[in-house]
């Protein structure tokens, strides 16, 4: 194996549909995760645009049946959270984690396939609600009882039951995936890959998986209880027979707040891979970053009731303090990222641009979160469009930008082809502008008193202009997907050949061909730090079979030794 470029000249995944349907290869499953999640992203997006169209101006525009409006925003949120963000990040993890730790596959390949296939099934069950009498679930993605109890005044139809079953299915998929990740990361690392040499992406997936394994079963229990209430006359949340409606909220948020970190930590992992590579510097404060990630995971279990400040049924000071405290490790990460770029050499490829989009937007999502942590201010802002703005700055400005950074970054590895840079930048500009037009005005709407989940508002409430701006922005986001989809379709056939390591990456996935062979690696470089490929490229490995690969003309200008300065930690 004397060749330094492992990638075949014309990369292609062979094998027909049958092979894809039956595969247990983590790379194919990962790609299917990504495609499936993207399809649901588009479906969720269509619901979002319907909602925005309705709200563009006062009066009922398209939803003459307001129940369908409630179904639309409920399904929008459920799809985006459970069928786009969580599985999209799980999919990127499924693809990249075994590669980054030098493993041939996940620990349980067949369970991996099972985890994936539960997702489209869950999605179909969820959407099947629209075909039932009474329509799909319409009580918001939170589905608080008593509104979700069976009854003429609540949710009589089977749509709500389908929602419950779909979420239990998707949750089980998450739990199995989380267990799979943990065993893979603990047991399948290549020789030399100690815990503190793992890429940050792997660390974030590790912490995320702990959250999933510990928190997701709790929402399963909430959903089971709701199902028993609805179908077997149970009394868990039914106040008329001695149940406690707020109990559901506690159990629900015990999962759903950690779920926020499930939705954002792997995106942070992506950013932490992209920023060092395109800055030509190591991540600033690697260990501090890991401790901050673990800290967020731990604190994440003690802040759930900040979603319930206005219920009058939670101990406010404790949850307020914890909520404020979680800003600290998040802030640490923000500074780590910025100081990774600081005094670096930045190459503005599309992955870096999306990563910077993440930094600038997630910062706003973090800052406006502090408003809601201040309990009296939350009394004013809770359940208004302010909260809608906040959560979208975190989950879209954060997670979705991170997801696209990851897709642009790893597409060459997945397919062997580069995505087009110009189209990528068009995509970014449209998405960035559309995103801010859509969601920034929601701060103003929320402050002005517009509650969430309403189909219409009075024309004299002063909410008209910002709503129109938000709707225009929403459609710009929609349009921004067109250059992306076009880019993927065109690049798959005619994109520039990527080669093994188009970005001068640091981590092991760039040490194999693009796309990698089914078993991932022919051989691995020595692993002496969290950047084995960097060490190899710059001859920092003493002897060994990994060093000295400097016949690549692209690398000829690289120095043979690392400047020693600044290595303070």
């Amino acid at each position: 194996m004397a060749t330094h470029a492992l990638s075949p000249a014309v990369p292609a995944y062979r094998g027909g549909i049958y092979e894809w349907l039956t595969t247990t290869d983590h790379k194919k499953i990962g790609i299917m995760y990504v495609i499936n999640s993207f399809v649901f992203f588009l479906i969720g997006g269509i619901f979002a645009l319907l909602v925005r169209t309705e709200l563009a101006q006062p009066g009922i525009q398209i939803f003459t049946n307001e129940h369908v409006y409630n179904e639309s925003f409920s399904i929008h949120a459920t799809v985006m959270i459970f069928l786009f963000i969580i599985p999209m990040l799980a999919g990127l993890g499924t693809y990249i984690v075994p590669l980054q730790i030098g493993a041939p596959d996940m620990a349980f390949p067949r369970i991996n396939a099972l985890s994936f296939w539960m997702l489209p099934l869950g999605g179909i069950l969820l959407l099947a609600g629209f075909l039932t009498p009474g329509g799909a679930a319409a009580a918001g993605w939170t589905s608080y009882p008593p509104l979700t109890e069976r009854g003429p005044l609540a949710s009589p139809g089977p749509g709500q039951d389908l929602w419950i079953v779909a979420l239990i299915l998707i949750g089980t998929s998450s739990i199995l995936g989380g267990i799979n990740f943990l065993v893979t990361i603990f047991k399948m690392r290549a020789p030399g890959m100690t815990l503190f040499r793992m890429p940050i992406m792997v660390w974030t997936v590790l912490v995320t998986s702990v959250l999933v394994v510990m928190a997701t079963p709790v929402i399963t229990s909430a959903l089971v209880m709701l199902f028993i209430d609805r179908n077997y006359g149970g009394s868990f949340f039914n106040f008329q027979t001695g149940g406690i409606p707020v109990l559901y909220q506690n159990v629900f948020w015990f999962y759903s707040h950690p779920a926020v970190y499930v939705m954002v930590l792997p995106a942070m992992g992506v950013i932490s891979e992209v920023l060092p590579v395109f800055s030509r510097k190591p991540l600033f404060g690697y260990k501090a970053f890991i401790f901050a990630t673990a800290g967020i995971g731990a604190l994440g279990f003690s802040v759930w009731a900040h979603h319930m400040f206005t219920t009058g049924a939670v101990f406010l000071p404790f949850f307020a303090l914890m909520t404020f405290m979680i800003a600290v490790p998040t802030g640490v990460k923000m500074f780590n990222w910025i100081f990774t770029m600081f005094r670096g050499q930045l190459t503005f490829s599309t992955p870096l641009i999306f990563a910077i989009g993440f930094l600038t937007m997630f910062l706003i999502g973090g800052i406006n979160g502090a408003f809601s942590a201040a309990v009296p201010v939350d009394f004013a802002l809770h359940d208004t469009y302010w909260v809608v703005a906040h959560l979208h700055y975190v989950l879209f400005g954060g997670s979705a930008f991170g997801v696209f950074a990851g897709i642009y970054y790893w597409f060459p590895k997945m397919t062997g082809r580069m995505l087009d840079e110009t189209l990528g930048k068009v995509h970014f500009v449209l998405m960035f502008v559309g995103f801010n037009l859509t969601f920034f005005p929601m701060h103003m709407l929320g402050l002005a008193g517009m509650p969430r989940r309403i189909a219409d508002y009075a024309g004299d409430a002063g909410w008209n202009d910002w709503n129109l701006v938000a709707t225009i922005g929403g459609f710009i986001i929609g349009v921004s997907m067109l250059p992306f989809i076009w880019n993927v379709l065109v690049s798959l056939r005619g994109g520039k050949i990527a080669g093994d390591d188009p970005w001068e990456g640091n981590t092991l996935e760039w040490a194999t061909s693009s796309p990698p062979p089914p078993y991932n690696f022919d051989r691995l470089p020595d692993i002496r730090s969290e950047r084995p490929l960097f060490d190899q490229r710059h001859g920092l490995l003493s002897g060994g079979h990994g060093g000295g690969d400097h016949d690549d003309p692209a690398h000829d200008d690289a120095p043979k030794a690392i400047p020693a300065g600044g290595a303070a930690s």
Binding site: F186, K187, M188
Partner: protein
């Protein structure tokens, strides 16, 4: 080079890595996987237990007078409890047997565990039929709801455990386990102990806490 050639040359290279990665130190993948799965199950039952305590605190007196008599800890439920605890011991004896390579002892002990599990399930079904006969169901207010949900989900886990025991019993009789290769037995035994511990907790909070 072509992708085919690539694939052929690489298989030989990949093996050592796969082996190195797959057989690193510590517990095996299936056992770690089972421990994590049990962790998630613990959290699932934590959710149900939390709901039980919240519901109980909000509904006094507990249990309601109409159902007070069913919570006699010294009734048949004590027998069922003893049987299940015993089965945990026999299950562990089976593990110790197979660790020593004693296949006969393994099969004997796992069979006893299997049968005890089935007897527990039969007793639970009988208990349910008595309660249904008295008109207590999931719909009988907070007490009925929590009682049947907790014991029902525990019963479902016992049922799952019995199925797993059946599988490792069958595989044991087919001679698939040895002193070196019996990860499935270890994993199933962990699960069975977990089911047992949940029952002890359940028995304590349902029947013993006044």
């Amino acid at each position: 080079m072509t992708a085919e050639a690539h694939a052929m040359t690489a298989t030989a290279h990949a093996e050592p890595h796969a082996a190195a990665a797959g057989h690193s130190r510590g517990i095996s993948n299936p056992i770690l996987g089972m421990i994590l799965f049990i962790t998630s199950e613990v959290m699932f039952f934590s959710g149900l237990f939390a709901a039980y305590f919240a519901t109980r605190a909000a509904n006094q007196p507990w249990p309601p007078a109409a159902f007070k008599h069913i919570l006699d800890p010294l009734g048949p439920i004590m027998l069922a409890t003893i049987l299940l605890i015993t089965s945990s011991f026999t299950c562990q004896f089976a593990v110790w047997s197979i660790r020593k390579g004693d296949r006969k002892g393994y099969i004997r002990n796992i069979s006893i565990t299997f049968v005890l599990g089935i007897i527990f399930l039969i007793m639970q079904v009988y208990d349910y039929s008595l309660l249904f006969g008295e008109g207590m169901t999931l719909g009988s207010g907070p007490f009925g709801t929590t009682y049947f949900t907790l014991t029902g989900f525990h019963g479902a886990h016992v049922f799952g455990g019995v199925l797993m025991l059946g599988v490792v019993l069958y595989r044991g009789m087919a001679g698939q386990f040895s002193a070196k290769h019996h990860d499935a037995v270890e994993a199933v035994s962990l699960y069975w102990h977990f089911v047992d511990v949940v029952w002890i907790l359940l028995f304590s909070i349902l029947y013993l806490i006044p």
